[in-house]
Symmetry: C2
Subunit: 406 residues, 2 copies
């Protein structure tokens, strides 16, 4: 038996059926078909409220929409946060369609046409290299626009314990520290609107201490760079890094501790950062636990003594859960039999997808209540890096339905 990850807070059963946004999993599958992603507005709203409560007053919270760009969800996030962070021209179009007006754009390979669209839309561009800065200034000059440019810095430290390290060594993201001051000087000379810094050291960390340490390092780096430049930055994006529990033994980040430490840091800032507006940029933490992927069992079989539940979903919607995206060893995401939710486990089963490849495993040797054809598997933590981070067209399957539960 291999344990499954911890089921996020906020999910309960009604007569043994998982409730999401006030509806049972059974009713959701009856209404919308299977497989289906369901996102709970209520859980999104609560997550933001709890985070605001924990974080320092006046700190901006940005949503990194790469985590989940589904239109209705994105519109709700626009109403809750202080800015939307995009990573492509495609995301820019979606953000504008969702009504976002505070947008910033990071990404190591911005095409000219993406820079043009961002400058036209008045988006803050996080400049990733000296050559990208030159391209942005040229494009803005030709368009007769003032570009709004921040510098993405490749920090000389990383976020300890983070799932994705984005600093602390050679990286394709941002520019090395020694390049920053000359590039800012060039922006100021060209009468560009220099917004400040974007410093992102890593993501998906669960230890408050590591996040607190990284935020302190980030503030110190921003102060040092501002001092070198001799101009106060209007804005500093401190990055994100707050992860969510996926695997057995993982625990939620103590955001109250993170918020308290950050408040203390912001109260004792050096003079050059006294008027700076700070932001954190979060994706997965804001939306990941608010989504569930429901998929119906189409076969149950025993092979060499192992019981398989075969679903009509799979890695084409749940690539990360299948252990094929950013993880080396397959561990079980939180999963349950949705229409037997909260019922004691009775047997050990492997839950697989319908794809004709051995990679398509959702849950290995998990302890579950007995389930049969027609029952519904719930994969939790499906609100981030699910639908769009999976190869939907693999084996001719196509995308799953997505539902925003108002």
């Amino acid at each position: 038996m291999k344990p499954v990850g911890p089921i996020p807070a906020g999910f309960e059963a009604r007569d043994g059926d998982l409730i999401i946004g006030g509806k049972t999993a059974t009713a959701l599958v009856e209404q919308h078909g299977s497989p289906v992603f369901v996102y709970s507005k209520e859980l999104l709203t609560k997550r933001l409220a709890d985070l605001r409560q924990a974080m320092p007053d006046g700190l901006d919270i940005h949503y990194a929409m790469k985590a989940n760009p589904f239109g209705p969800l994105l519109e709700h996030m626009v109403s809750l946060v202080d800015g939307i962070d995009i990573a492509s021209g495609g995301e820019l179009s979606m953000a504008l369609a969702a009504g976002a007006d505070h947008i910033s754009f990071a990404g190591p390979g911005k095409r000219d046409k993406e820079l043009i669209a961002a400058i036209e839309a008045g988006v803050t561009i996080n400049i990733e290299s000296p050559t990208e800065c030159d391209r942005a200034l040229d494009i803005a000059a030709k368009a007769g626009k003032t570009p709004i440019l921040a510098i993405r810095v490749n920090p000389d430290f990383d976020l300890k314990g983070s799932g994705m390290k984005m600093g602390g060594g050679a990286k394709q993201f941002g520019m090395d520290i020694d390049l920053v001051a000359p590039v800012v000087a060039k922006i100021l000379e060209a009468d560009g609107n220099w917004r400040g810094f974007h410093i992102f050291a890593g993501s998906q960390a669960l230890k408050a201490d590591a996040i607190i340490e990284t935020q302190a390092q980030t503030l110190a780096l921003a102060a040092r760079l501002a001092g070198e430049i001799g101009v106060a930055p209007a804005h500093v994006n401190l990055g994100g890094g707050i992860g969510i529990p996926y695997f057995p033994g993982d625990e939620s980040v103590d955001i109250v501790a993170v918020g308290a430490a950050l408040s203390k840091e912001l109260e004792s800032l050096p003079d050059i950062l006294k008027d700076t507006q700070f932001a954190v940029e979060l994706g997965r933490y804001l939306v990941g636990e608010a989504g569930v992927y429901l998929t119906q069992i189409v076969d149950r079989k025993i092979s060499c003594g192992e019981t398989f539940l075969i679903t009509d979903g799979g890695l084409h919607h749940q690539l990360a859960a299948s252990g094929n995206f950013g993880t080396v060893v397959k561990r079980n995401y939180p999963a349950a039999i949705a229409n037997k939710f909260g019922i004691e486990p009775e047997e050990v089963v492997s839950i697989v997808g319908c794809l004709c490849t051995p990679l398509d495993r959702l849950s290995d040797n998990a302890n579950m209540p007995t389930a049969n054809v027609g029952d519904i598997v719930a994969m939790f933590c499906a609100g981030a890096y699910g639908a769009t981070a999976s190869p939907a067209n693999f084996l001719g399957q196509g995308p799953a339905t997505e539902i925003f539960l108002d």
Copy 2:
């Protein structure tokens, strides 16, 4: 420095520019934009001709279209092979649209609606479990049709050295050997058209000896099962298993040796298999090396002494090449600077995609001729498990253009 994989045969340069289907990479990107998948009809045709030459006379060759379902390519494959193997109702629609008339359907989680469509279309259904057999017989009876059913067997051996093991232990694919005879008896009782067996032990093997041994085991298993059933199978699908070289040190399969050994086996079959038609089912081997992914460099930067070439493509089209699909350790796929093809390497660079994630690495510390913004990176072995096996919509990027070079 980390070596890159071996560039497949059939690619040459004209004035330092990679030629695919008679056109230069530069011309292809100018005409179709970047990034773009290009598939060479000429290389597909040659691959099939060479394989026919090596394989026993009368052996059927099937194409497993999951490897690449791109319409124009699929139409060409239909014209070259003896059958199309599908893995979903979506693939059934595509196969029919491409003019396929010999179709077989394998997959562990077939929905009722997929069984209905397959029975209506006269497709051979590879039955994966006793319960799936019951469902197929019920559906056919209700429709007044005779279902064409083969048994997918979970063999008690695997293909040694294969990248994907699909036999030799508990598996979601097919049924264990002891279940086969009773299920065939049920099909015959219900007046179903029992076609034979589908026995697939693994894929992506490079050693001829291992493939030869597995084919012998597969034939022995088919004979044993036919003996138990007491009826000769009309058709046996021997599976595939012939891989292609991706990584440094990999060598092409000696298909002449495989074909010679299989000829010998087929000449000394037991009586019960004397009139059986045999097929091999190949996907990656038929199409993988005929495709190239071209992506243009949008930035060149140095971070902490490491040079990065940042392209406008990435893992959203090349998930497997980025090391995030079915591999544990990232090794470099075959790659080149397409418009400096065949030119001596001059520097060590990491080639990355445009996505704002550290997972998006195409080639780590590879030795390449000097390349700058506007130059074109070629990723080889992109004809199989590329476009549809990657999360095209990740970070709002969308799919790449695909071109079939006639």
